[in-house]
């Protein structure tokens, strides 16, 4: 049978990932109607993006329509809100039976009963609690998380009991709901270094590149402090997450408000005390009041030296670590468009360690697992379509062992990013040095989530232009809902 023709639809305006791969019979006429096989990779929009619900609603509606209500394979890459929130927003479709889903693929990290995976999910869950306790205390003080982790809580999705937007579901609940609905077989929790064929009337071979089992590569940083005697990495991390949760907990056993000192020693509430409108003590007020007031004058004298939000740093650092470790636990798939031919690389949000691990293993060249072994380097060299990691951030596209190995002169890239929105949160997405090189390597063939393709590139490369279609009925405010590309 001839190789299928593959069209990749990237949903736009999301600041999140949602990709629909449609496989058509090469002998059929064109690419009209419902495809022979539909593969959906992630479906999410970042929390608290303006018009969050409206943005994702038109996407899920489009998916339901164009697939004819059946998805042969659903791939969920990792536990981030911007990759899974769509399943919660469109709960009736994905969780309550509106769509039929043939198979669900997840990374091995999601598999219950696997000792390493269970420990990982447990420590992630505790860390989420710690970050959310911190963010809650920060909000209680009338502030927003600062110190490098700005907005990262939005990747975590809502807290337990506080979910409103996703029909009351947290990220973990959404994934649990999908698992319950589709009931993946043990082998659907994919292991790195294996090859699977996608289910459906037509299929593609999919090389599983990550996430790795090696904890040195799985986590962003090994702990900078040395571990104590007999202490494991998970143990040390767990302890730290517990401690931070305790530090910021709204109440504790001994103190109603979890305060460090008894209330008998002199103190004042800081916000009204430091408020500009505070007139200060009158001459007849006690000397202690005047002493306190003089310290206030010193403090306010130079605003740059005030400590402001420095205390957010502990929460920020933990949020950054959780964020990148979750990203790094991404399921990464390389789809083969023809035997030994072109590759579509879906890197999810994989970061440095995940990328490095691809090269630590070889991949069976055929379904029997015998015969020749393929290296990650070869797969990268054959890559003609690259779904850029983590919205184009600085550490999710490897250089020497990544992009520089993608040597095909037909390389095209998909970047699900909204630059303006990222800028507002001070995230460098896409990261300029990487992005410039990407554009250069692709000779301009870069499709983005926030803008149409470069007209100059389209004009100069008619073959490229012929492969692209854009949502013919764009929303007046949100723009087109999708752009699609014929990968083969």
């Amino acid at each position: 049978m001839a190789d299928p023709r593959v069209t990749v639809r990237m949903y736009q305006g999301l600041m999140g990932d949602c990709f629909l791969l449609r496989l058509f019979d090469a002998n059929a006429d064109g690419r009209n109607g419902v495809a022979a096989a539909n593969i959906l990779i992630d479906c999410g929009v970042l929390q608290n993006v303006p018009d969050e619900a409206a943005r994702i609603a038109r996407v899920t509606a489009d998916i339901a329509a164009i697939t004819g209500g059946h998805i042969d394979l659903l791939v969920v890459t990792h536990e981030h809100y911007d990759h899974v929130s769509g399943f919660g927003h469109a709960r009736s479709l994905f969780l309550d039976g509106g769509l039929t889903i043939g198979t669900l693929w997840l990374a091995w990290t999601e598999r219950a009963g696997n000792e390493q995976a269970d420990a990982l999910r447990k420590v992630f869950a505790q860390t989420r609690k710690a970050v959310q306790a911190g963010v809650q205390r920060i909000r209680l003080a009338g502030e927003e998380l600062a110190g490098g982790g700005e907005g990262l809580e939005d990747f975590l999705g809502p807290q337990d009991g506080l979910a409103v937007s996703t029909a009351g579901l947290t990220v973990a609940q959404i994934i649990d709901g999908l698992k319950e609905r589709v009931r993946p077989a043990p082998e659907d929790y994919l292991e790195p270094g294996t090859v699977r064929t996608t289910p459906g009337k037509l299929g593609l071979r999919a090389y599983v590149l990550g996430p790795p089992h090696d904890e040195d590569l799985l986590f962003r940083d090994r702990p900078s402090r040395k571990l104590g005697e007999g202490e494991t990495y998970f143990g040390a991390w767990m302890r730290e997450a517990f401690e931070i949760e305790q530090n910021f907990a709204p109440a504790s056993g001994r103190s109603l408000l979890n305060m460090p000192f008894g209330s008998v020693y002199g103190h004042v509430a800081d916000k009204p005390f430091l408020d500009e409108g505070n007139p200060g003590p009158a001459p007849e007020d006690p000397a202690a009041a005047h002493a306190l007031w003089r310290v206030r004058q010193k403090y306010l004298d130079d605003p740059e030296r005030m400590i402001g939000s420095a205390w957010h740093g502990a929460v920020s650092q933990l949020a950054i670590k959780l964020d990148s470790d979750t990203n790094n636990a991404s399921l990464v798939l390389a789809f083969e468009l023809s035997p030994g031919g072109d590759i579509m690389l879906f890197a999810a949000d994989a970061q440095v360690g995940n990328w490095l691990s691809w090269h630590e293993q070889n991949y069976p060249a055929d379904d029997q697992g015998t015969g020749l072994r393929v290296t990650a380097g070869e797969l990268l060299a054959r890559t003609t379509l690259y779904k850029v990691g983590h919205h184009g951030s600085h550490n999710a596209t490897l250089r020497a062992l990544g992009l520089e190995l993608m040597t095909s002169d037909r390389l095209t890239a998909l970047v699900p990013v909204m630059e303006e929105l990222a800028e507002r949160r001070r995230w460098g997405m896409p990261f300029s040095a990487m992005y410039e090189r990407l554009v250069e390597k692709c000779r301009g063939r870069v499709l983005r989530g926030d803008r149409p393709p470069d007209p100059a590139v389209l004009a100069a490369q008619p073959d490229f232009e012929a492969r692209i279609r854009i949502d013919p009925a764009p929303d007046a405010k949100l723009g087109p809902a999708w752009i699609e590309y014929d990968a083969s």
Partner: protein, 698 residues
Amino acid sequence: MATSEKPSYDWQKHRPAPYPKPATRKLRAYAFDPQSSTDLATANINNAVISLPWEQPWEHPVTPGPCGEYIEVIDHDPASGLFYDPVDLNDPALLQEGLPASEGRPQFHQQMVYAVAMKTVRSFERALGRTIYWARELPPPTRTETVEARAEKRTEVVQRLRIYPHALRERNAYYSPDKTAILFGYFQPQDVQMGDRWVFTCLSQDIIAHETTHALLHGVHRRSVQRSNLDTLAFHEGFADIVALLQHFTMVDVLRQQIAQNAGSLRTTSLLNSLAGQFGKALGRRSGALRTALDLVQQDAQAAANASPEERARRTAATTLTDRVREAHDRGGFLVAAVFDAFVTIYERRTADLMRLARDGGLRSGDDLSPDLVGRLASEAAKIADHVLRMCVRALDYVPPVDMTFGEYLRAIITADTDLVPEDPFCYRVAFAQAFRRRGIVPEGSLSMSPDSLVWNRPDSNDLPTGQQGRGLFTNLLERLVFDNSFGQMKDEDGRPIDFSKPGGNFREINARVVRTNQINAHRWLNIDSEEDHLWERLLGVKLQSTGQLKARGERPLETVHWRTRRKDGEREPLVQIYSARVARRSGPDGQELNQLVLQVVQKRDGYFDPARQARADRGEPVEGRPDFWFRGGSTLLIDLRDGQLRHSVRKSIQTEDDARLHRQRQFEMGRDGRPELLYPHSGPQLDKEPFAMIHRG
């Protein structure tokens, strides 16, 4: 009849002689931390009383905070939403040793951070031989800088270090160069069985001393907080631990008790050679540079005891420093280990006779030492710790102004000590050189590890400018500077007279203006033209020649240093900065005296990751985009005030034949994670914002 006159009495004249001010202000603190009070073995020595000299009339009086001449404590606890009342050390109830030690009272915390930080300041200042100031990093100006030193706004002198005892809710405390402040955290360890629910980092002597030292070091070396090689921040961490460690030996009760307990040995693990006990316990992991240091010393001992030569070689290799050790605390540990090793070696040599006498008198191994012997050993240990601390601090004036390495620090220690104390009967310098070699810290370009070859080379007289014309020699510079508060007609840089005579004037404020004036005058001196600029360039390691001079000599300008166009002749000249011009007055153990001018001359050059772009930019050809990093060079000049002669020029040239140092920094900047090939580099120079916050967080 005379009316009865009341006896007149003039109350106005009733003025008793003023009471003398006390010599010292005594303040209670934990000798270690609150945890040590709950441990029976250490409870009786954990109460320390710190004596600070009473404020002088020319110093800021201590006001509620405490806020004094050098330090102000501000107790804002934003995570709790509170601001705590400041402690008033002048309250009659507190004049006698202050508040008693208490974990539960924030005002005691304020007292303790103040007392320990001030103690650290005083001992540092004494060793350095001059008044210290704090430094503050300001964000770089958006406009290109101008030549005048006064327009250089990136580091400013600060009179008072700020301390926030309860700034953070985390297992962390750090020095912020941007705020010139120490932020202390408090936290709840997961293991509540420890008894104390909250652990306060501001109640640990070691942590306070450590963080204060970061601030002191920044004040002396403003570039020390910006990384340019692996050793930069590691030196900060290591040096801060060295100071904290050596301060243990100033506490007499602790010293005697611990020496008695360990039969005179300083190598056995004890309170004396460990840092931050409670913090370490609460961490539940081993931490810090000192921990690494002690591990190294123990591994040495194991290596020595091991019979197999291969095993011995393997262990020895593990205890020497290589570029594979990257983390700042780990790396700093090697420095601490070297200094601690030197200290103990000297102590053992100097007390060998005492131990022999005791053994002759019948002391056997396992016996308790006599109280007399303990007293003598303790006083020796205290004296040597003081000597070693002074050696380590003095050396800070003998290191290059930028991009220092551990090896250069060793050379600085040896040179500074040789200059002040020419004879070395107790072999301090040999002990230092040996201890550093054992850790694999070997300076580049020094012939051997003997102390005399580690001394910085004297400037080669053949290369020296003659000073026949132009800017003249250093005596010419000295004529332009002020060396004391001469109460004469001193004017500051704006031509305003500096009035030293006004009563109640603050010495450090006035002195800061003198320092500033000297800095500016030194800069003006450096800007005087000289036909010998090519010789000066070699001596100072910076570019000085104007485009006109270069043309006359048939040379091309190095365009990546920054230039300005002169008004007088339209020629361009390179920008040079004077980081500091300070006079140090040092005294040695036997009354030796040394007065020096320490001058830091620095120049900045644009650095590029791509050598081809670098070459183009160096030639002045157009290069797209911003430079990727800043490369700095220059020298520290040590000028003897007795004869106005240059003793040393400790140099890191801005440009050399092979530009090896530029290449090294490029590799470092590109691969902060250790593997430059992994990621696409950030463009534009990276500023280390809060460099000390991150390296403590998990």
